[in-house]
């Protein structure tokens, strides 16, 4: 019994397909609990009024946007090293989910920023690095779309993902440096981790759990879809060959 058994698409599908509905329900329940708790049962923060409540969407989405890329990095490396197709397909399946998470984080951040900072957008290090992450997702997805040969596409996107990860981390710190160097601590950014009081902490954790479950469910489902698409193509190709022979 090892994790590599799930490199077999059949085994992977048989195991994950029944789990997906459970994950979705778990995510839904956790999201409902976390959001209702967070929206109605916690007090308004002193200097945020009710705007603080968007934190329950903003932070989990931002967290998953980064984790999705990290997961893609891991699965890309597994694909390059061990050539397990499911791994490459999982990376492909996670990218759009990560992209959407990035967009959610950016949009909720803008909605939050408007009343708090008086602006929808500021070239703050955190915001800027998320915008760059968004561009990385776009490029990664575009490369998948552009290459028709599936194995070539998997190889090239994996290489891009690895190089991109290095540059994403580099950009993160470069952007930090850039802003501090320029605007000498305009410090629009609030250090969320340190600011969150205990009252908000537990519903936030519940929401994060909900997003994690949602992400896992979506990725498993999308990977299953990719596997089915791959099978369908193989069947079509076989049928065509059969027709040509007849």
């Amino acid at each position: 019994m090892s994790i590599w058994e799930y490199a077999n698409p059949k085994k992977f599908m048989d195991t994950t397909a029944p789990a997906v509905p459970w994950l979705f329900w778990g995510s839904l329940i956790a999201l409902a609990v976390g959001l209702i708790w967070g929206f109605f049962l916690t007090p308004n923060a002193e200097n945020f009024q009710s705007t603080v409540k968007i934190i329950y969407l903003h932070v989990p989405a931002a967290l998953m946007a980064i984790n999705a890329w990290f997961m893609m990095l891991v699965t890309s490396i597994i694909w390059l090293v061990r050539r397990h197709h499911v791994s490459a397909l999982a990376a492909k399946a996670a990218a759009p989910v990560g992209l959407v998470m990035t967009v959610i984080a950016l949009i909720t951040g803008a909605i939050w920023g408007q009343p708090m900072w008086g602006t929808w957008w500021a070239w703050d290090p955190r915001l800027t690095s998320f915008l760059i992450l968004f561009l990385f997702y776009l490029g990664y997805l575009a490369l998948w779309e552009a290459i028709s040969e599936p194995d070539t596409a998997a190889d090239l996107t994996s290489v891009l993902c690895i190089v991109g990860s290095v540059f994403a981390v580099l950009s993160r710190y470069a952007v930090n440096f850039w802003n501090q160097g320029l605007h000498q601590g305009a410090s629009l950014s609030l250090d969320k981790e340190e600011n969150v009081a205990d009252v908000y902490y537990i519903p936030l954790l519940v929401c994060i759990a909900a997003f994690v479950l949602l992400f896992v469910a979506l990725v498993l489902m999308r990977t299953g879809t990719e596997i089915r698409v791959r099978r369908m193509r193989a069947l079509e190709a076989r049928a065509e060959r059969g027709a040509a022979r007849a």
């Binding site: 990385f136 490369l143 290459i147 090239l156 690895i162 540059f167």
Partner: protein
């Protein structure tokens, strides 16, 4: 490797047209900026370092798809892949050739265009230094993305989408050096970071480029 470098340089200078094209593009972008933002010299001199760096970056981008595409089309890339020179060496030589034909002329032309934008006096040596130190990274990153997209018919557009996010750290530190130079501040830190990025790119990216080329030549 040197023979390959010389061959690429000769091709670029004689037949390519990419040699002068990048420079002309650089000039045009810089000339267009005052039309866009107005001709106030104070504004121009403040944004000059950033404009010059962004323009140089775009000009470098322009000729990236030639790095491998021409050799891929006429079949010399598979030959290079089977030659005794490792593909990593080919990727490195190609990146260096791109730098000599694009990054180096851009670096030399940049101070001239700085005059057009009323750049502050103390910034000139730092503009030269930062471009000289930073453009090799642009070429190596570009060679990597060119290797990724070499098999595609319409790779050019896709490549700009892949390349530009990777250029962000280089651009940040490069423009920061010039900006600080213009304000008379210490430039050591960003200059060192820029050098680190460049040398890291030169040392490591040929391996990634070669991996991508191998996949594309399969």
């Amino acid at each position: 490797m040197i023979a390959l470098l010389v061959r690429d340089l000769r091709l670029a200078v004689r037949a390519g047209g990419g040699f002068g094209l990048g420079l002309a593009f650089f000039l045009i972008v810089v000339v267009l900026v005052p039309f866009g933002v107005g001709a106030e010299t104070s504004v121009l001199s403040r944004i000059a370092p950033g404009i010059l760096w962004v323009a140089a970056l775009l000009a470098a981008l322009l000729s990236l798809d030639r790095i491998f595409a021409l050799d891929f089309e006429d079949g010399s890339l598979p030959l290079l892949a089977t030659s005794p020179l490792p593909l990593e060496g080919v990727a490195l030589a190609k990146g260096v050739a791109h730098w000599v034909t694009t990054g180096l002329p851009l670096t030399l032309a940049a101070p001239l265009l700085g005059v057009l934008l009323n750049m502050e006096g103390p910034a000139y040596p730092w503009l030269l230094a930062s471009l000289a130190l930073g453009t090799p990274a642009l070429s190596m990153i570009g060679a990597f993305c060119a290797a990724l997209t070499v098999g595609l018919r319409r790779g050019g557009l896709l490549m700009s989408l892949l390349v530009l996010p990777l250029y962000v750290p280089t651009l940040i530190f490069g423009a920061e050096v010039v900006r600080r130079g213009a304000m008379g501040m210490a430039v050591g830190t960003p200059l060192l970071m820029l050098g680190g990025i460049t040398f890291g790119c030169v040392a490591l990216l040929p391996f990634a480029s070669a991996a991508a080329l191998r996949v594309n030549l399969r």
